[in-house]
């Protein structure tokens, strides 16, 4: 057993996993604040990355300006989405909203690509690709940066959900009508959650854009992100972070053991298996809240 190699796999797996968490936090935010699954997060992430590239590369703004501007734009867009689409479906069964967000995703992707085209572009954050050594272990700098961003967002949102606004958002997720009855503006709350998730999408888009280039495959992060979010429990930010790390490690290290056995790539298989098993044992993911059902 090559322990150094295994640790390298594990550490890089954990870092990659945190990048998935970065994406998943956007999903969790919205779910936690409105009990709505957001299948448009992939489209949002892709759009976020494109906007940053458009502002920095095409319009020539420096990155430190382009990113906040893009975040601002996406923040407004998030509110807009609530205004135009979600508001009308408030309180409807989950499947319909699921479909709505899926339609939104297709729309966002189509529009983004119609504007900017499908050619892969690069983010150029300027993070060096020279390896970083931890003893004999090679670590990727950009992944480290991404992981740091993910942890930062995690801390920020943990604090946020303890604040009064955060509590109001959680109240909205519990019961729309009751929230209205005590004067909580459900619309503004849901809008805020979408706006914040859209900002998270910019963060994820920038980091992932740097890692893999800015093109439509960014929207495919949705599947991995959903897996992480479900594994952690759809309304748990802590869950998203921990599940990301766990999944990252398991798929990297596990694949190393299992690939040779099955004679092919087994990562997807491992991810699927972990998801199925976890959910069977813990129907609300690792840290998700339980439904309170009283007969």
């Amino acid at each position: 057993m090559d322990w150094i190699f295994l640790s390298e796999l594990a550490i890089n797996g954990a870092l990659t996993g945190l990048l998935y968490s970065l994406f998943a936090i956007g999903l969790v935010l919205i779910y936690k604040a409105s009990s709505v699954p957001n299948l448009a997060q992939g489209g949002l992430t892709m759009l976020g990355a494109y906007v940053v590239v458009a502002l920095s590369h095409d319009a020539g703004l420096p990155l430190w300006l382009a990113i906040p501007l893009a975040a601002l734009f996406m923040f407004a867009l998030g509110f807009g989405i609530e205004r135009v689409a979600l508001r009308r479906l408030a309180g409807r069964p989950v499947v319909m909203i699921l479909m709505l967000t899926l339609g939104l995703d297709i729309f966002l992707r189509g529009t983004t690509l119609a504007i900017w085209g499908g050619t892969s572009r690069s983010m150029e954050l300027g993070v060096s690709y020279d390896p970083l050594f931890l003893g004999d272990i090679f670590i990727s700098r950009i992944h480290l940066v991404g992981a740091a961003v993910a942890i930062g967002l995690f801390v920020a949102f943990m604090l946020f959900f303890r604040s009064r606004t955060g509590i109001k958002l959680r109240a909205i997720a519990d019961d729309y009508t009751a929230s209205w009855s005590v004067g909580i503006s459900v619309e503004r709350g849901v809008g805020l959650s979408w706006a914040l998730a859209s900002v998270v999408a910019v963060a994820a888009g920038v980091i992932w854009g740097e890692v893999q280039g800015v093109d439509q495959s960014l929207s495919l992060l949705l599947l991995k992100g959903l897996t992480v979010a479900v594994l952690g429990g759809l309304d748990s930010i802590l869950g998203a972070v921990i599940a990301g790390i766990i999944l990252g490690i398991i798929e990297n290290v596990g694949a190393d053991f299992i690939d040779p056995l099955v004679g092919g790539g087994s990562r997807e298989l491992i991810v699927a298996a972990v998801l199925i098993l976890t959910v069977m044992i813990r129907p609300h993911g690792l840290f998700g809240r339980h439904d309170i059902e009283r007969v």
Binding site: N12, L113, S122, Y129, F138, S140, V211, E268
Partner: protein, 400 residues
């Protein structure tokens, strides 16, 4: 249908139409716009020069989003409008259309996509994968390595990094056969789609220290790979890519960082291909180009030019042989008389016959030197016996 009845002299001339049903909106958009733009430009050029046999040509570009269902829709619709030459630029869609084309007697061009065994013209009489198959391409890569190692591969270790689905898995069989034959070690490194996370793969590659890695991935995945290679300090010159790597990828990897990187290809890369120059002069300088100029600065544009040079050349031959109008049969005959055709130095010369619909399967290896692609080999088609064994074995199963 009514649209076909255009007034005037054009009404008499039913143009020779090619159905270009491409994925212009999903996963293959890293290449499909360039290829289709080339097709449209070339058609314009042909028409400028008086068409074929005095009649205009037309390419009809449609999106199928890489969905078999929509591919079939495109095929059926266009074939009803009289189109009998099709191209899909997508393996799944090509597969979906193939049974129909075979049944209906429509020519299915499938350069660089589709089933590799379709080069066997005795079985697939309506399918023309002109150009290299992935099997042939992989074999040629091995031949290049053999040349590099002075004819002895016995101590050499070759890594194969591939997308873990049929496109990437395809060469495995041939590589395994050749590894036995030539005695090199073969290590397989599957990469799950869409290839955005390759950290563990390249950590493993670093540890296994292969002398070369042959890479069967597409688009952005090459860029991810290059970054992981930098992180793992794997020199770029070990990298031999499948033909699907272009200037956009090089730019995203970084011109400097990409030095030494190699790819197999069946077309000449770069900007000064005569045909491209001609199109630039005749069309783009007059504002008549079919798309943005920068899309022509891309190897996939050349790939498209190559594919459609063949398509139109075959039409020309068909007219020569059997006159107007071109029928599916005469077109087929035209295709099968192509001999050492290289579209004015644009690509590997091809010779299509009734048995070999692949045209010989020649490719060459080129290397990026920081500015341009430098050929490392001649146009070769190596191990054709081994490749044909696999082809025959596979094509025999068809139709059972």
């Amino acid at each position: 249908m009514m649209g076909g009845l255009i007034t005037g002299s054009q009404a008499l001339a039913e143009p020779f139409k090619v159905g270009v049903c491409y994925d212009l909106s999903k996963a293959y958009t890293f290449a499909s716009p360039q290829v289709s733009q080339a097709a449209m430009d070339l058609a314009k050029l042909v028409n400028l020069k008086g068409g074929i046999g005095g009649e205009p040509v037309e390419v009809i570009v449609r999106d199928h989003g890489n969905e078999p269902q929509r591919g079939i829709e495109c095929y059926s619709k266009l074939s009803r409008e009289g189109v009998f030459v099709f191209d899909t630029l997508s393996t799944p869609v090509s597969l979906a259309i193939l049974p129909r084309a075979m049944e209906d007697g429509r020519v299915l061009m499938q350069s660089l996509v589709g089933r590799g065994d379709a080069v066997d013209g005795t079985v697939f009489d309506w399918v023309y994968p002109v150009g290299p198959t992935y099997w042939g391409q992989a074999a040629n890569d091995v031949a290049y390595l053999k040349q590099l190692h002075d004819g002895d591969l016995s101590d050499v270790k070759v890594g194969f990094v591939y997308f873990d689905y049929p496109f990437g898995q395809e060469p495995i069989e041939i590589l395994e056969t050749l590894s036995e034959k030539e005695g090199f070690d073969l290590e397989l490194y599957p990469v799950p789609l869409p290839g955005s996370d390759q950290a563990s793969v390249w950590s493993k590659v670093r540890r296994d220290k292969p002398d070369h890695v042959i890479v069967w991935m597409l688009g952005g995945a090459h860029v991810v790979a290059s970054k992981e290679m930098q992180r793992n300090r794997i020199p770029m010159d070990k990298y031999i890519s499948v033909n699907w790597l272009n200037e956009v990828d090089i730019a995203n990897i970084g011109n400097e960082a990409a030095i030494g990187l190699k790819r197999g290809t069946n077309v000449v890369g770069g900007l000064d291909v005569p045909l491209r120059q001609e199109i630039l002069a005749e069309l783009y300088e007059k504002g008549e180009g079919s798309g943005p100029l920068e899309k022509t600065e891309d190897v996939f544009y050349n790939t498209g030019l190559a594919m459609y040079s063949i398509v139109f050349e075959a039409a020309r031959k068909a007219v020569e042989l059997e006159g107007l109008p071109i029928t599916p049969e005469s077109y087929k005959a035209g295709l099968e008389t192509l001999k050492d055709f290289d579209a004015n130095g644009l690509m590997a010369p091809i010779t299509v016959t009734g048995e070999d619909h692949g045209g010989g399967g020649k490719t060459r290896i080129e290397m990026w030197d920081g500015e341009t692609w430098v050929p490392q080999t001649d146009w070769i088609s190596a191990y054709s016996d081994v490749v044909w064994d696999v082809v025959k074995e596979s094509s025999e199963k068809y139709g059972q």
